[in-house]
Amino acid sequence: MNNGRPQVIEHTLDNGLRVLLAPLHAAPLVSVWCWYHVGSKDEGPGTTGASHWVEHMNFKGTEGISREDLKVWIERAGGMWNGYTWIDQTTYFETLAADGLDLALQIESERMTGCLYDPEEFESERTVIISELQGNENNPGYVLGGEVAAAAFRAHPYGWPTLGWLSDLETMERDDLYRHYRNYYLPNNATLVVAGDIDSTEALRRIEHYFGAIESGERPRGVRTREPEQEGERRVVVERPGTTRYLDVAFHAPAFGDEDFMQLLVADAVLSGGKGINLWAGGFGRNARTTSPLYQALVEPELVAGVSSALLPTEQPYLYGISATVRDGVAESAVEEALFTAIDALAQAKPSEHALRKAKNQLLAQLAFDDEGVTRIAHQLGYFSTIADWKRLAAVPDEIEAVTAEQVREVVGRRLSARRRTIGWFRPQALP
């Protein structure tokens, strides 16, 4: 029985490609993920959205595999495939029957070096990318979240959206993208994760076959900008035709590698419920649990219809966010007062042992839920390899257990203070 705790084998090829193998024989499946240490924070003004657009272009055909075959091969084998881009990373994956391992490895090795960037495909994809952006812009939550991040970050590139600004998407050129691709898609800037029904010796041999000859390159320097300390509350307002009022609050948060990350993770679990450390919340959502202080302060007295919060593991200091959907007719001041009173209460008095135990139980249960299936397991290994040392993943349960009630109080007082927050309101205007 693996019980979700696979023995992970780490190996680095001569060209610097880090390989993580997790043999799991419960099902005849394999999940292959190739992670690149490049995300929207590695872009600059004029090319915001380049990482995400590169991801799209890397499904449009390589020297050895046509655009069609890139999609068809995996689906024909009954597999699923996709990719995503966020602030720190870009990733591609295939989950399919274990005998399809070679297909996935071949695709990922081609993707690392041989994508075509055909000028016509590039232009055709421009409108697809803009369509993706505009689909998101239909959603008030996306627009508000973007405004709040932009206001919270004055210097650091975490402040612009992963999809990019529209004018950059309208004007970027094919060579801008190709340069971005060539600069970052290096074996020594990537991690390949293979989890599932594999023989690790044989899998490594196949990986060497497909990736061994790829030349390493010079890794671009990472982002050096540090966001200056915020010295006072910031406010932004979005006024648009709409039906519902939304609140977004963001506090500057620690990076995953910072020493108080786990303390704030537990503090968030105390405040609104434990969500684990999966970017996708393991599919279980981020809504406040019913006995949590935020639910009791906001939902129970019928100020808001729902409240959620998120502390996401990132490479550099990002944001701790709280979002609420306000009920019709409720004053903004009433919502703010209830929310900040609940946070301040935890800064004043440490949580009870019962509240702390409850928060930890929730986090530990979520970690267990995340260990189900090769796709989730491979995702977590790779995700953490792009933001920190992946080995720390195994230590997370112990680190959660070690957080004390006093540390929770202290981190809330220090991190979630008024001067470090940005408050955003979506104010719906009458529909036309």
Binding site: G78, S131, N138, T244, F284, V299
Partner: protein, 443 residues
């Protein structure tokens, strides 16, 4: 490969003396357990005037029982880190839970309690009503939701159970009383029409014992539970046929505050138990699913670059459909995208699909089985379908042959019989028609 998947899954099925059907599958490569109780208590048992009643009722189940208050239920869930939710679809209501295996017995007890004896506290009914009304208000500003609403309302006659919204309307939700919720529960929740699925790190003996303890005492309510011994399948609602629209019809919901338009093209589709189902699934895979949107994706996304997403779905359920094509496009591309989609519907009726398309589609379906059973939720979902549609416990073993045998002729025939490009509804929600071209049609 697919045989291996079937072999891996050897669920136990047993029926309690009170008529409750139980399906259990141990999955030791998990430290968690998924519990899902499903009952014939979905939106199809509402009327247009009581739209949203089933969902309202299901969401109330964890807000107080004869034994515990909402706070006590919340405390149990929050202390163990478990998840519990009640919800309703068109045909069924469900109480679903996910917990660490160590908490299995206490969670099953809670699932049982919520299903058997919810107390519908008045103040909780009012709180939930407010939450639902807020969600309805949010939907009014959501192009994706509005386009589906408009499509359903145009595709089905007003009294057809597929015509109204699952969430209900502001009017219907305002009208629903506490007594109506309790009466809906009495009428539709009972062991005879329910199926309980348990998947996870729990052995058979332990599962049987816990089920007997927590749900063995569930008495059949006075309402209808379906014929004795019929289980969930017999208790499901009777969904009437729905004729295809007499002609192609366009409905537009203009939302000029939006940037992008959502498009839906659809008509009544087929039932899950129709003989056509397997050929239709292969046909739909080729038309709008395989390799990111099938033929539709190739033309509308890849060649014309008009949409981030485009796909089609059969919608085959207890009743007919809807078959639907969905896309999100810039308002200036709506007309072209619709034209392309209708052309593809027509083309798959007119021309045989290629051998390669056919074999790719079949292979994608048949070989995806192990992946669909990757985790507890996936296995539980498969077991529910098997029970709900009486597919038989050997269904997963027969799965490869059911789809693998579909021929080119069957695909074309089923497209001719089941796709109606000239008798469908084209719904658009968003900034369409564009302001400068709107003429009199806006508003």
């Amino acid at each position: 490969m697919s045989a291996a998947a079937g072999e891996r899954l050897r669920p136990e099925r047993f029926v309690l003396a009170n008529g409750l059907t139980v399906l259990h599958q141990e999955n030791a490569v998990s430290s968690a357990v998924t519990i899902n109780l499903q009952l014939a208590a979905g939106a199809a048992f509402e009327t247009a005037a009581t739209a949203g009643l089933a969902g309202f009722c299901a969401a109330m189940l964890k807000r107080g029982t004869g034994q515990r208050s909402k706070t006590q239920i919340g405390e149990h869930l929050d202390f163990t880190g478990s998840l519990l939710a009640g919800g309703a679809t068109r045909h069924t209501a469900s109480v679903g839970a996910k917990a660490r295996a160590a908490d299995f017995e206490s969670m099953l007890e809670l699932v049982g309690e919520c299903a058997m004896m919810p107390s519908f506290p008045v103040e909780e009914v009012e709180k939930l009503r407010g939450d639902i009304l807020t969600a309805i208000q949010e939907d009014l500003d959501d192009t994706g939701q509005m386009v589906i609403d408009r499509l359903r309302a145009a595709v089905y006659a007003a009294e057809h159970p597929y015509a109204w919204r699952l969430l209900g309307t502001e009017e219907s939700i305002q009208r629903i009383s506490r007594d109506q919720l309790a009466a809906f529960h009495r009428a539709h929740f009972g062991p005879g029409g329910a199926v309980l699925v348990i998947v996870g790190a729990v052995g058979e003996e332990r599962a049987r014992e816990a089920v007997e303890t927590s749900l063995g005492g569930w008495l059949a309510a006075t309402g209808s539970q379906g014929p004795d011994g019929g289980g969930l399948a017999a208790a499901l609602p009777n969904i009437p046929d729905a004729p295809a629209p007499a002609a192609r019809q366009t409905v537009v919901h203009t939302m000029s505050n939006k940037v992008q338009a959502d498009v839906a093209i659809g008509h009544p589709g087929l039932r899950r138990l129709d003989d056509d189902y397997y050929a239709a699934t292969v046909m739909n895979m080729i038309l709008g699913s395989f390799a990111m949107g099938g033929r539709l994706g190739r033309v509308i996304r890849e060649e014309k670059g008009m949409a981030y997403y485009v796909h089609s779905s059969l919608g085959a359920g207890v009743g007919p459909g809807p078959f639907m094509i969905r896309a999100g496009v810039h308002p200036s591309n709506v007309d072209t995208a619709v034209e392309c989609a209708l052309d593809e519907m027509e083309r798959i009726r007119r021309e045989p699909v290629t051998d390669e398309e056919l074999s790719d589609a079949k292979s994608a379906i048949v070989r995806s089985l192990p992946r669909q059973l990757e985790n507890n939720e996936g296995i539980a979902g498969a077991l529910h379908s098997i029970e709900q549609y009486r597919l038989g416990l050997d269904y997963l073993d027969r799965f490869p042959d059911l789809f693998g045998g579909v021929t080119t002729e069957q695909v074309m025939e089923v497209a001719q019989r089941r796709l109606h490009p000239d008798h469908c509804v084209v719904a658009v929600a968003g900034p369409y028609p564009e302001a400068d071209a709107a003429g009199e049609e806006g508003a």
